[in-house]
Symmetry: D3
Subunit: 290 residues, 6 copies
């Protein structure tokens, strides 16, 4: 059995062979070359991203949490003047206003961002579609974090005041909706920073383009964009532990019982299975390449 | 009257003339050239750093607070793997250990660092000489921040576990004692980061060398050093407001009443006065250059 | 010995006689009639308001605390639409902005107001002259209450956003400075409410006129004013206990040891003594009526 | 399409016509006149109060939250002595007992009341039928709010100590059970205040009679009753935003897709639909007037 | 109807007779004598421990909560030196490390233990199988309680540092898995204490043997074991109220409506029913003794 | 130099000789034998208990803190039914009342007791003479701990409701006043427990008699008394670290500079000095045995 934390690289395709079990992030639907390589090798491939328990995707959650908690730290750094930031210390100082942080989305990413932004001392506003989740946040922070429904009007009004905007909108299996339009940038404070965690799904800003850890920011209309793909890679010690916590139980099931028994006993693994001995068994992948 | 936020630059010496009142950071004792220039111009010079109220230095406090709160944010950024950091996310993630932050000193700098480090979610330990201040911190954080006396033994034991160390030891008017020795670095986790806020007073690590915002870090024995002189300059919007909050009342006193009346009415200004019409009136400066 | 909680009423003057000890609020300096009545009766009169311990006035503190904590509750009520209030619920609701509360002063009154305003869930801003007290508040509320220096500029900017303004400026023995000018009212939200706790010292708004509990509010330029003199009288059960907690130890000293011994042993009582057997022994009273 | 926040008034009946979509609070079951008017006009009428998602009524929730958070503020005001209140300051003062607040019910109304009552500083006790919800409150407030099962015995014992009682019992679609009987009033502290938020469903006190914002309180057996129907109307700015947050997504669905498609796609709207082109399609309304 | 809080004693068997309803903890599966006595007497016996609502066992919950909250208090006492404890004060002192508490399991028992351990001021670590529950704890305590997945590796590493270990692993209807092996004890600090709340289900330490309140602790390999069966009996006033809160509604249903109607109306009672007029109607009991 | 943590034992007297420096707790005033032994040996003896800095006794503080935090843990244990306690779990359970804890005194002992009692979840009431300290506690706990002035009346009323009473009254150098009289015991709940931390100064209960860790409790009038002398000895690991933190700086001063220089430079050591080369140099000791 092969366990990885990223998709197989092209250089690794030659290593696959029939009978192997592969358990990792796959993302086959947009990746024809990989799909074909794995089919050809007749590998049995389970994907982290389609393992589903109670309508949640527990092998995506740890990475979302890490990225969410990381986002306000990245944004804080780039608010420094030498990066043309607004020059407002996120934590503020006695007798001054702390920075204002606008978080779009209150799922796992948004919850992680909220906790760290609030902990640093920023004036934090969270926008979310569902009211029930906003009510939980309101309860948990005793009203110290402001909640608002996620509407274009609210974004337009709030984005003018923000030093930091965190894009935390993730749609399971789909493209993040674009909520921050180009014209909005012109209304923002010069030097404000957008940390777009949803970059891996296309980004929630019209101006989002994926970047790497080595070259993480760029400026459009005076607004910095931090749009690093695969953010959790910055803190691998935390990310690896967090991911392994989630994957280990499934690895043990596969390793101890074998594929046949694992699929019989555990429905989530059936959803996780993408390829089986040369055949596509996942609907979305079949639709793309079948 | 001239109000500045930094010492006069050499290029500005020619602008001074008799009768002027200068109110800014001066730091004359180690700076012969500046002392002589101001004496020659017969400027009346008040120094922020010697204005004293109730044994405190209220015009240093705001900058200390900004630097203290800023320190954990700088350290957090450089814990990323691409800077050879430990790769531990300061806030941690569910099911993993958060980063461990060791703060040397619990004055204004240390208090600011403690609040943000704890707010981010780091496991925070504060070392301080005075027990009374530790007791206050213990009370304020309900024991969630660990306190220890500042001894070589405690530093030696704790520094091994730390992902981040914040040097927050400031001695009014003197050199910071060196508490982190070179041999200690070898016992630290590879990739740990020292943020030495006391760099402006010589630094509390043996290996501290002042750096600038453009080139803020360097590595010794596998340990990163963030040792930017004048840290608060990174967030000028916050720093300027915080400093002006503190200086404005004194500026108004000088501007409205004149030097004579101000000195008669306000003892703190008498301590602030360093030079008067060509004469050194501050003891430390006189000892250095008189 | 006579212990009261308010100044003697004119109707009671006839009851005084030589040899009596009177211990109550007196406020003799602005009240000639009362001064003369007590002098004539040769009463030994101690005033609550001049009893001083460590530069504090411990018999004024309890009433200040009650008035301060009460202020946000009064303001909350009058924000209702039927009083032409702004119609913003102080606690807000999930997905809406809570009311904004501006508190002028961070002494005992301001601290009490801050705690209840923050507890209700208002977005709270505290302005104060002294930075040290602001730093304490910043520490105590972990930055969730915003602090600003008390300047005309800050008031002007913040008052535009406020639903509620609490005047908590008290100058020991003097007149409260007027910080809210008439022109500022026109910049406020229609229906905002000013609760001027400093009304007993003249008020910190130009438009403040004392009112009673039966007719507590009036409107100027669209802004409601709650300016009840002697606010703590509204909750006598709490006020009486709080005041008695503070006065009882002194009453016991006077009752058990007699005036002579009490004055010999306790310096604060010497400051409290205003009249002694027909003579004015307090400087301020002597200056007024001597 | 017509969107309202209250039932249509008789004066408006003439404005209805076939083909219109009405989306508002309707409460048709007890209102024959309105039902007939709408049937006759062949209006398609959706009711806020029957729109159901996951066994919750999301268009009632915002109003419940506003009323719940508002209740302790109303009660606080009427505890003043001039309304014959108990004269206990809800927040208390150092060295005195704060007011005691008894909350019947821990649904949305009770949760809102609990947060503000606790925030003000009252000693708060929450009674509820379900133990699971009490456990959540116990966890959220770390035990600082006391929880008890909602039984007649517990009410009898606790109501004697209470300065304030908040009736927060709401039964979806039914009459609130009467839990505070007339004899209980005689055991209460004179001047205590009952804020009966459940008045719109008949009230949880035997002595509850609906009142208006202009005349909100009356006294029975020495106990004040605040029993204003439609409490959220007092703070319309907050209420309107909160309600619109909840209704807007459904309005957009109806406006963009039309009734046919909306009903096909969204089950909650099918529950919300009461009348369709002259026919009653809701069971409870049909039972009443069909 | 007979309501009890413990299984019937042998001495009471003679008191049973046909037609009686018995509602109490029964635990018949491992107890043949009792099963036969009740069958013979043709008693209708409902068991607390099999009453099930929404996959929870609400009549077990209160006792679990009491035991969980009690555990850190018991452990704290036995950390005293005179019991050969580690001599670390659980709350620590300013400038020292507080005790470290390891909690295995985050169900009702673990949640109760976490709250009190954290409240006392211990450095608390919670291990649990499910990540979702860990995420809730992380959120509720803002990261101040550390969370880790429940794996042998994590236990092995953490148990070395622990002053106190709380066994809070309960498997509904089954035997607790043994997670603390004998060899692990040797790696623990001498004087550390294990409070094994799961003793009633066999215990989660290999070395757990049930004890009584009169003789609650014993030492194995230098590690104290507190393994009292039926812990909640130590605080009967709290336990009785907590249990009665949960049982009373069901007692009223049985008392008011009779067995027939109660079973017809309430599914949970059907699960609770173990014996009916001389017949075993519960599957597990039937399997054991049928 | 000899450093100890307890007074010299009789068995050790023979070990003393001229020229030695002794630095430990001495308590010579009530102990003639020890005084004479040390005088005869011409030891230079410094006492921890008379070392004074800013009117505080910093070498007593750590032990007071330990004893204070320990007290609620001891009381919690003895509330168990098997010790005839009230049987109320200090932390309570959902739906029940937690135990009530009455703390007499808000100095270092009282502050420590308050923190742990509140942390456990007890309903906590603190009585203190000084109002300023009560205000601090009220602020620190946001009103969740009730404060009351320390009067006989308040004790009488509150002690009836208490499950636990903590005596935390310590008078520097004197006898604790007796505040809990024998008749008060009869009004207490049967099984309530008094933890009298002030036992070392005579105790604040009339019925207090010193006990040892081996036999810590006894019952008078149905009320348990925990009155162990030298409570911190129970947790020596914490106590030793805490004490050493405080003594070490002074030990270094004595060891590095010698007695002469130490006395010249450090006023607190002059107050600490009790005996010098055969002569009594402390006033209180001289008064007793001079």
């Amino acid at each position: 059995m092969i366990v990885k934390v990223k998709e197989p690289l092209a250089a690794e395709y030659g290593l696959f062979r029939a009978g192997q079990i592969l358990f990792t992030y796959l993302h086959l639907a947009p990746d024809r070359a990989q799909t074909e390589a794995l089919l050809k090798a007749r590998v049995t491939a389970f994907a982290y991203e389609t393992l589903e328990v109670d309508a949640e995707l527990p092998l995506l959650t740890p990475m979302s949490e890490v990225a969410g908690r990381m986002a306000p730290l990245m944004g804080s750094f780039f608010l420094q003047k030498r990066f043309s930031g607004t020059g407002v210390l996120p934590a503020g100082a006695t007798g001054t206003q702390s920075a204002r942080c606008l978080i779009l989305g209150a799922g796992v990413v948004g919850a992680g961002a909220t906790r760290v932004a609030h902990g640093i001392g920023m004036r934090t506003v969270v926008l979310n579609r569902g009211a029930a989740r906003l009510r939980q946040i309101d309860e948990l922070y005793h009203g110290e974090v402001q909640t608002l429904p996620l509407t274009a009007g609210n974004i337009e009004r709030e984005i003018r005041e923000a030093d930091m905007v965190i894009g935390a909108l993730l749609v399971p299996g789909g493209r993040t909706p674009v909520m921050i339009t180009r014209p909005m940038l012109k209304t923002m404070k010069p030097g404000a920073v957008i940390v777009d965690v949803s970059v891996d799904q296309g980004g929630c800003a019209e101006t989002t383009v994926p970047r790497t850890h080595d070259d993480p920011v760029y400026v459009v209309d005076g607004v910095q964009h931090y749009t690093v793909a695969n953010m959790p890679g910055a803190y691998p010690r935390t990310s690896t532990y967090a991911l392994t916590n989630a994957t280990l139980p499934w690895i043990l099931i596969l390793a101890n019982g074998g594929v046949e028994k694992a699929l019989a006993d555990f429905l989530p693994l059936r959803k996780s299975l993408n390829l089986r001995e040369g055949k596509i068994v996942n609907e979305a992948v079949a639709e793309a390449w079948g």
